[in-house]
Symmetry: C2
Subunit: 559 residues, 2 copies
Amino acid sequence: MAINLLNEKLSWRSQQANRISRMQRAQETLGLALSGKILPALEIVPLLHSVLEPGDRVCLEGNNQKQADFLAESLRSVDPQRINGLHMIQSVIALPAHLDVFEKGIASKLDFSFSGPQANRLAKLVSSGKLNIGAIHTYLELFARYFVDLTPRVALVAAQYADRQGNLYTGPNTEDTPAILEATAFKGGIVIVQVNQIVDQLPRIDVPADWVDFVVEAPRPHYIEPLFTRDPAQISEIQILMAMMAIKGIYKEYEVNRLNHGIGFDTAAIELILPTYGEALGLRGKIARHWALNPHPTLIPAIEAGFVESVYSFGSELGMENYIRARPDIFFVGPDGSMRSNRALCQVAGHYACDMFIGSTLQIDLMGNSSTATLGRISGFGGAPNMGSDSRGRRHASAAWLKAGKQGRQASGQIPRGQKLVVQMVETFREHMHSAFVEKLDAWQLAEQASMPLPPVMIYGEDVTHILTEEGIANLLLCRNVEEREQAIRGVAGYTPVGMGRDRRVVENLRDRGIIQRPADLGIDKSLATRDLLAAKTMKDLVRLSGGLYDPPRQFRNW
Amino acid sequence: MAINLLNEKLSWRSQQANRISRMQRAQETLGLALSGKILPALEIVPLLHSVLEPGDRVCLEGNNQKQADFLAESLRSVDPQRINGLHMIQSVIALPAHLDVFEKGIASKLDFSFSGPQANRLAKLVSSGKLNIGAIHTYLELFARYFVDLTPRVALVAAQYADRQGNLYTGPNTEDTPAILEATAFKGGIVIVQVNQIVDQLPRIDVPADWVDFVVEAPRPHYIEPLFTRDPAQISEIQILMAMMAIKGIYKEYEVNRLNHGIGFDTAAIELILPTYGEALGLRGKIARHWALNPHPTLIPAIEAGFVESVYSFGSELGMENYIRARPDIFFVGPDGSMRSNRALCQVAGHYACDMFIGSTLQIDLMGNSSTATLGRISGFGGAPNMGSDSRGRRHASAAWLKAGKQGRQASGQIPRGQKLVVQMVETFREHMHSAFVEKLDAWQLAEQASMPLPPVMIYGEDVTHILTEEGIANLLLCRNVEEREQAIRGVAGYTPVGMGRDRRVVENLRDRGIIQRPADLGIDKSLATRDLLAAKTMKDLVRLSGGLYDPPRQFRNW
């Protein structure tokens, strides 16, 4: 059978040819203002006008920490008559400028992962028709699509320093940069980098100049959000009780050694009682040794007490620089002494090399599905679904993974398989006496409002292994059917309507079978759950325990 | 509560201090033979003696294509009295030298992913107690552990060129190198690189010299296996029939646009009939547009016919260099014109950005679990489990994913969720009339023999959505219970004992419900399943269709 070949005159180099025209336009526009790859900050809008084309897929670096904020603001200043209909691809919608480009018609489509700070405004732009959402992703799946069907035509990223050749130093906050640039630079795209400073000699090279087209020294250093700092002073005794249950009922029970903690006070409490409660239980060197985690300041006491063997990070945390530099046995640091992070690889580590994800949530339904979506806010997913799902491509065993797998499949008659521990930790009532347990997630209504194909579930009930509240732990692995699962969830839902709706007899039976465990069942003396158990009670304690190396951002200091 | 801090004199820089001693020993041993980071090939064993320490975790680069073979052979030559008990971490056990180090006592522990060519000998070394397997992984989860609990102390890798400063060009076969070096160089490890040539000017920089400690020009270029080349002449008409069913019954049915193909003739047949059968069905531009795939030569006709929009690759394929260079719109190429691969990122792409994995297997049981493990051979997993499992951290929708999810959950009452298509393609009888369908996988017996914690299952039945044989397609998503699932599998198992054991009435009912589809049910005329349908029938055809750009390795040429 003959095959229809494409017209032989078809160019197979259209992307390269298009790249050359863009580069030529830039050269013509900037002329002598361009010194090699380096341009003055004042020329950035003319550069964007010359290299961007309407409808371009543009990856603007912005995640939960580092922001290419100067480039974001410059993009907002382009002329919508010339540059419009851009398809923005970015990890996080965080700055007003990120949405201004939609308001102005410069951009029209968005693929993203998280939009916490701008969730309300994003929802409004969607309703008004000015912003069309492609999809909401976890970080790692968005990176995956860079290489498959969402390859950026232009990347706008941030680095700490560049040298005069255009080599980059991204340092502790390397984060998303390598993944974005690898996809863009190797598919004929254009790479524009804002740097805090152009220097003669970089501390180390994180990205070779070959991958970079233009470098601009921004008028001010790029923004970094200290997202992972939690003040120990704000940790409540309920959180301490929950942390005790987590350590004794889960970390110890499953011998969890490789793990990720979500953001928040619940898990910060666990970090802070490892050196006290964990030590008293004789668990040093037996649990929580290897972490895929940003350098949480609240982990300092556990590091100093010898609990932690290694920490690999998605990004860094402001103020932790000197502490990390002084603890190279724990953190991943370069030859120059500063940390190297890499969000893509750390998400891979969280997905495949961790035995447990534990994190907080806002709402849990009767099947154990949980979501942080609430009405009128399109907040997205971030990294939690990637960490908080069973990694079914995993094949290597560990004690924790085998035990969870055995418990989860004992009644199924299926071939044996391991399973990741996915723990949702939540107080039964959240702020303003809203129940954390609901019959139906707000996500359903949100899906309808925003015409999403599926309700935006953060962690699916099928993937959750344990729910932990101040009332106890529900081990969903051991439930034999959906009815038991529902009662197990009701059985730790306290005085919420969901909790009050429990069948007391069934719940007692679940407790007898160890599916529900109360603090007493775990041998936990609730009277010990006081702030005395915190290895650090204040930010100042963290500084002291770090030997003065930790330098908290100003907003966390009251001294 | 007071916390026990570690002895304040504890060093937090033991890895760095240890690295400095190793580097000093190397300096003392090699002295003037060392020119910057570059040493003569003759000095490699002395270098290994000076930088290695007994018990080290050593990552030796070796995957299904590129081999750091000179370093592997050099490692075999070290003195086991001085260097012993190494813990080897490597993607693939492929060369005799990889196992010689265990025979000689230089190494004693192994964490790996695949051992195809050495599977028998590996099993013998395990029985003899000379080799202790940590675990068998998929590629991506092994990379994940580099950053968590299996960080290499010494990395031995291969690159194409280095410049005199130690910058590396890894080019088309970049593969595992960046992940290995990122983990090693940023945790105080030692990086040794064999290169084919030291040059004054690299085509581009793939790895900055900062990440490299020593470079040696090997006496011969590193080995590359042309693993993904399949001669169209060997494709059978049964394979063509199966390929027709795949395209009409699955690709078209689910609108599959982002995909990965396993290695083998079954999927090569699909690639080769896209431009004929796929074109006749009007599917150009509607299916199979974006690929996470090595540059398979059998994909050339589909590329030339305009089916393929993009291909991102784990590694390269020998002989495809010039073709790739001439098709930059399709492949990921650098500013120098040659391809960039990256196994870690391409596995991420395969896991999270693909809607379908389709591949062959050796054995399938009645639950749909499949395995390539057979008795006496410990062959490992490679990348298949990562691609061939439902990616439960995925949150973005596509038509294929939504439809599979809907079919798979229609009876469950669970919250809606998408699902990856995982297709196992197999002829009912394999070589020597062995049945591909079995009551019990050999993997069970292998697990017992080798004391594995779980039977080595390649793809779990829970993750498989379709089984495709010459008899038809079984859609496991639509099965309401395990009994139906078993009969669906028996219903496509042909004249194997498993197939003969079918309940004819149930199977006919499954066919009525579209759960089993025969070629006739799909409107496929079996008489068209001839080699005429192949867009290329020989290697020479592939060369011709590539416009003379494809240059097959000698073993694939008969002219």
